[in-house]
């Protein structure tokens, strides 16, 4: 809701969920990977693929970075998130009739689907010739499009990107320390940075009515 780049309030925390949620920050590709290249690979695999990675490693962020490129390739993205209390296909049963060969079905949390749900989804996508892109923590048998992973350098780079230039009370040493505890879970690392920022930010003078 608040602007990601503008300091509207003096006590605004750069690590609040609005600033770090998928879509708020771009996915940082390493080496010569890019969104366009990944979409090209996806297209070569007949629009089927999986993004594999541990919790909080940026799978959802990567998806949101890929969506514009997928849509630019002429496909309509239909994204569904499987919740632990809804492991069947009820969420997209109504939508299936609208899927076509230009639909890119995206499933976050594919592993949470029941085995029957997974088979049914795969069958429907094949029948409609719709693409299927999933996120998972372990390979599920689709062509691996990308494996997300976090390095300490990437974590430091992201934290520095979020902090303002004037902020000197969170250092790379803090990020390294947090990384040693949370490893591949960047989400938990950023939440810890939130707490650190709250503890260390300078106290403002009391307001008067």
């Amino acid at each position: 809701m608040s602007d990601s780049g503008r300091q509207l309030f003096p006590d605004q925390n750069p690590f609040s969920t609005a600033r770090v949620k998928p879509g708020a920050i771009e996915f940082h590709f390493c080496d010569d990977f890019s969104a366009a290249r990944l979409v090209a690979v996806l297209q070569e695999n007949r629009w089927r693929g999986e993004v594999v990675g541990p919790h909080g490693s940026g799978k959802s962020t990567l998806l949101r970075t890929l969506f514009p490129a997928i849509e630019a390739a002429g496909r309509k993205v239909r994204c569904y998130v499987v919740k632990p209390n809804d492991r069947h296909l009820s969420m997209f049963t109504a939508d299936q009739a609208t899927w076509t060969d230009s639909t890119q079905v995206v499933i976050e949390g594919y592993e949470l689907l029941s085995r029957r749900g997974q088979k049914l989804l795969d069958r429907v996508c094949r029948e409609k010739q719709a693409g299927l892109l999933i996120t998972c923590h372990k390979p599920q048998g689709l062509p691996t499009l990308f494996q997300t992973s976090i390095t300490v350098e990437l974590a430091i780079s992201l934290v520095e990107q979020l902090l303002s230039k004037e902020c000197d009370f969170i250092t790379p040493a803090d990020v390294r320390d947090s990384f040693s505890r949370h490893g591949q879970n960047l989400r938990e690392l950023l939440f810890e940075m939130y707490d650190l920022y709250e503890q260390r930010r300078p106290q403002e003078s009391p307001r008067r009515a």
Binding site: M1, S2, D3, S4, G5, R6, L8, F9, D11, Q12, N13, S16, T17, A18, G23, A24, F191, Y194, E198, Q203, E204, P206, R207, R208, A209
Partner: protein, 159 residues
């Protein structure tokens, strides 16, 4: 209500793009300004909030609609919640000369809750917002924060 994110930094009086980052078909980007009429920054429940907004540097025919709102939202470690207290949408047909650019004033009586709050993992923010809809699907928005209520910072409590 959807809020589009914009990575471009700007000063408090300039407009902000949402969605497409390319300028709107002119050399200058549209200029949105929003001011809270009364100079004091801490309001109380029941106070009247008066705001003025104005649009410049854009042709009147390019404007599809202007929305003004007074809202609150949460910020912190949880998903954001939003509550709209005041909302008004104007289209060119609402104005005599079909021009939405001149200064427009709007007022609202502020509610009893929720009050502005700066907590450890939950914060409650209030702001007035103006959103400009241009042709070809482009949007710009600008917001001006204010405080409602006189709640102590949770960090003041050392217990």
């Amino acid at each position: 209500m959807e809020v589009s994110l914009d990575a471009n930094l700007a000063s408090s009086s300039r407009s902000r793009f949402a969605g497409n980052r390319n300028p709107v078909g002119s050399l200058m980007e549209p200029l949105l300004s929003l001011q809270i009429a009364e100079p004091r920054r801490i309001y109380q429940p029941g106070d009247e909030l008066a705001c003025e907004c104005q649009i410049d540097a854009v042709d009147a025919k390019e404007i599809q609609a202007v929305e003004t709102s007074v809202l609150w939202y949460t910020e912190g470690k949880g998903d954001e919640d939003l509550g709209v207290h005041y909302f008004n949408r104007r289209v060119p047909g609402d104005c005599e000369n079909r021009d939405l650019r001149p200064m427009h004033r709007f007022t609202t009586i502020l509610p009893n809750s929720p009050l502005s709050y700066s907590g450890k993992i939950v914060k409650v923010r209030w702001c007035a917002r103006v959103r400009l809809f241009l042709k070809k699907g482009k949007e710009l928005y600008f917001e001006q924060p204010f405080s409602l209520g006189n709640i102590a910072d949770s960090r003041d409590d050392r217990s």
